[in-house]
Amino acid sequence: MSGGPSVGPGTPDPAAATKPSQMRRPRQRLKPSLVFSWFVFIVGVLYFALPLYATLEFSLRTKVPFVAYRNVLFKDPQFSATLLYSFAVGVITIVVSLLIIVPTAYWVRLRLPRLRPFVEFVTLLPFVVPPLILVFGLLRAYNGQPLPLTHSELGLNVLIVAAYVVLSFPYMYRAVDAGLQAIDIRSLTEAAQSMGAGWTRILLTIIFPNIRVALLSGSFLTLAIVIGEYTIASFLVRPAFGPYLALLGRDKAFEPAAVTIISFGLTWLAMGMIAFLGRSSRSRVQVAGAR
């Protein structure tokens, strides 16, 4: 190599020899991608809005408007009964899930980082096992000795909560883990320990309050999933909201539309809460899957 690479001046652009006055500032070009973006967005909006609008429109097609809503909300005892049941199951699920997940996530972060891949693998399993398969397995496994849970109301209720807790693992763990990552739990724990606090106190008074937002996000998502769930509830023959809606859809005309709109509204509420809670932190929005 002779004396290193040469860097010449490069060929100056001949057109650049224009006088400054001849150069006009280019107009803000209408980027072709902007037109494209709006097109894509509008197509998306149409696709998403049409079914909702159609449902809304259908629900109002009754002779007297809002009759369908009235029927459902006030005249149908099953609506409130099943919604209440699902809501209760949801709350119990959330509590159990939190009681299991939070200590686990905390321990893994603090003391057992080598177990992290295993824990994460287990939290991914519910994705591998769709609700259908899960309920299938639960039905067979607990149909006889030693734990015949399928033989009693209480047993079935235990099963549905257990199933939902398992389903909630991926979302709960991810939410809690993200929350723990944001606060320095190592220092907090050590500070608390140096002041004499035991594990329970640390968890209850220091960890839980500081990851409140993450907990709430995970909880709302779990609640939304539980209330809308059909497959497991139906196979476990539980008086839940999902099977109620299915039954309604087969029997009545306008009421299903009304309930669909209500259900959509509830889901939006839950998601809105999650977005509201996560507005300051840059946490990922949680997703649910197909059903």
């Binding site: 690479p5 860097v7 490069g10």
Partner: protein
């Protein structure tokens, strides 16, 4: 003829003015640094040269051609980013050769050129690696090779060493300067580190809050700062308030003790001015014949390795001075009374622009 010229550059973002009244003429092959604290507008100006921002008003010409409004991908300038910005999905070879691929050079030519540049930055054997497999310093060298590969007319560097360890910073900046000399490419270097700017540049543009404080060689900037900002930003400085006794003779009173400076003072007798005194101008003891003396007590002794930094309390003021370390040194104790000395030419009067002629005149008067 200037190679890269910025004329009356101004940049406004809504209500804020980021850069105002920026004028600079660079000769071909010159190494110019933009030096200043964060937010002073140096990066914004660099980005205007690169084309990522457009000036609100003003003009940029390169080798005679007006490039003010030319899109960034048509400017033929090479830029090195603070965060390296290497494309993670490409090997080092592909990264460096990207500019040439875009210009549709033949593959064989690209291969040769890429190897040439990698050898230049001492990474000749790392061509097949991916960016994530390289250290910070190595990545930055690849970024440099990439910016130079297509033979740009100007090389722009945006705080390229800020993200690196101190030791690597020093070696890499020497490498950058030697490569620049070797290639003779006009270079603009943005930094907030005055040591970098002083050691690398042919000329420095000191900026603060969007405007240019001073343009000059490192020697000029350090020894003859034009403004208080430049004086305090570049190097350490002792600032002492001094009461004027006799303006024409340069007699002043510092902390109740009289001193003499070799400059004419543009102020009324009785008024107070600011004197700036570099630590290296100050010595312990009585100094040579004709020096100024100040008496005070030792406030602090800090051992910094090759130098020892002493802080002397003179009435209300603290004067910092540096002494070279040597094993036979006997350092004063804290609280001991001490005398420090400095020559009359030492202090700078802040705000005035001293010239060598002025100093000569005063010296003659003294004789």
């Amino acid at each position: 003829m200037s190679y890269l010229e910025l004329t009356d550059i101004e940049k406004r973002f809504g209500d804020t003015t980021a850069v105002k009244g920026f004028n600079l003429s660079t000769a071909r092959g010159e190494f110019v640094s933009f030096l200043g604290p964060s937010g002073c507008g140096k990066t914004t100006t660099l980005r205007m040269i690169a084309g990522f921002e457009t000036p609100t008003s003003g003009r940029i010409t390169l080798d005679g051609g007006d490039i003010t409004y030319r899109p960034p991908n048509k400017r033929n300038v090479g830029m090195v980013f603070q965060s390296y910005a290497l494309f993670p999905n490409m090997t080092v070879n592909d990264n460096v050769g990207f500019g040439l691929r875009v210009r549709k050079r033949p593959k064989s030519q690209i291969k040769v050129r890429v190897q040439e540049l990698l050898d230049l930055v001492h990474l000749g054997d790392k061509g097949g690696r991916y960016p994530y497999q390289l250290s910070g310093g190595q990545q930055q060298r690849v970024a440099l090779a990439r910016a130079l590969a297509f033979e740009p007319q100007v090389l722009l560097l945006d705080e390229p060493l800020s993200a690196l360890d101190a030791k690597i910073r020093v070696t890499l900046r020497h490498e950058i300067r030697s490569i620049q000399r070797q290639l003779g490419i006009t270079t603009v270097y943005v930094t907030h580190d005055q040591e970098e700017a002083l050691s690398l540049s042919d000329r420095i543009v000191v900026m603060s809050e969007g405007h240019v404080e001073q343009i000059g060689t490192p020697f000029e900037i350090y020894n003859f700062p034009a403004t208080p900002f430049v004086a305090s930003f570049v190097g350490t400085l002792n600032i002492l308030p001094a009461k004027v006794i006799d303006a024409a003779a340069g007699r002043l009173s510092v902390a109740g003790q009289e001193i003499r400076i070799a400059k004419r003072v543009e102020a009324q007798a009785g008024s107070t001015i600011s004197l700036a005194l570099r630590p290296e101008m100050v010595t312990l003891g009585e100094g040579v014949e004709g020096s100024n003396h100040l008496r005070g007590t030792v406030a602090d002794v800090t051992f910094l390795g090759s130098i020892v930094r002493l802080r002397i309390q003179v009435a209300d003021e603290l004067v910092t001075l540096d002494v070279f370390n040597e094993p036979t040194l006997r350092l004063p104790e804290i609280g001991a009374a001490i005398s420090i000395a400095f020559p009359p030419e030492g202090p700078l009067v802040l705000g005035t622009a001293p010239t060598l002629a002025a100093i000569d005149v005063l010296d003659e008067e003294q004789l």
